[in-house]
């Protein structure tokens, strides 16, 4: 479904052809769920939030003006829904030792994140689990969904420069966690 096609679909859905919304579901339900599941560590909650995201999107469909791409708009709703849920349910995320992040060299970061050793990758997977909500969303959008920095900035409502800095820092955070496990409980 291309953007022009999507706009046409949205217009028709707003005109009463509700069944066409199934094509939007078919295209976006998996990637949206994938991002939410990264943020919310519970499978059932992630499913419920995916459902909430699409219901909200359907209710607000009339407000979509086409300023950004439809997927960006949808991801923003999903991100805000997931963030509100994490605040309400008070999921706990560990506190990282910020000093450790500063001590990592760029070369060391590149070496760790490029190393496909099984053990190291398992440690990285665990380290990702320990990141905060925004970092997880950022990683999923950038690496899994392959969104551009400007799209991510629109979804997370941050400036593109901030996104670049955050990406740089989150890479370092993962490596710091892998190297030293320097985290405690929040």
């Amino acid at each position: 479904m291309e953007s022009q096609n999507e706009m046409d679909y949205i217009r028709r859905i707003l005109d009463g052809e509700t069944a066409l919304f199934s094509s939007i579901l078919a295209r976006y339900s998996r990637p949206i769920h994938s991002m939410i599941y990264r943020i919310v560590p519970c499978r059932e909650d992630a499913e419920e939030l995916t459902q909430d995201t699409f219901l909200k999107a359907f209710r607000k469909l009339g407000t979509y003006k086409g300023d950004s791409s439809f997927s960006t708009w949808l991801y923003r709703i999903a991100y805000n829904t997931a963030i509100s849920a994490t605040r309400k349910k008070k999921y706990e995320f560990p506190l990282l030792d910020e000093n450790l992040i500063c001590n990592m060299s760029d070369e060391a970061v590149d070496a760790i994140l490029g190393n496909e050793d099984e053990d190291l990758m398992q440690q990285m997977e665990k380290a990702i689990e320990l990141l905060d909500v925004e970092d997880k969303a950022l990683l999923t959008l950038y690496y899994t969904e392959e969104r551009s920095v400007s799209e991510i900035s629109s979804i997370l409502q941050l400036k593109p420069d901030n996104i670049k800095v955050k990406l740089y820092r989150v890479r370092k955070k993962i490596c710091s966690l892998v190297n030293s496990k320097g985290y405690g409980s929040r």
Binding site: S22, L25, R38, E47, T50, F54, F58, D110, G114, Y143
Partner: protein, 119 residues
Amino acid sequence: MDQDKALKKILNTGKRGDLPYGFEDRLMKGILLEAKKQRKRAQIRILGLISSVSLVMVVGTILLIHRYLAVKITMPAPDVRFSPEAGGMFGFFFYIAFLVLVLLVLDTYFRNLRQKPRE
């Protein structure tokens, strides 16, 4: 970022959480239900709008008539008087009505009593 091969691999193959079977169908049912509700809400809004516009027009018309046509509308109150013989008849009718009411209540009560053991 080509140098983050391992990170990319983890994020693409690791925790993705597949959706359960029939998830989209269930969600679509919810969407259709929501569309139905929206249509109902829109109908109620339109009905409310029409009603309020009509009310405003009726009130406006009455005010205009009252102000510019100087029509005085007076409704005579009904003059009801009962003769002394009618009083006795009313007493009798009230007695019959009361009796019917009591019988109806008793009938309902006994019907309920009979139905309960069957359930």
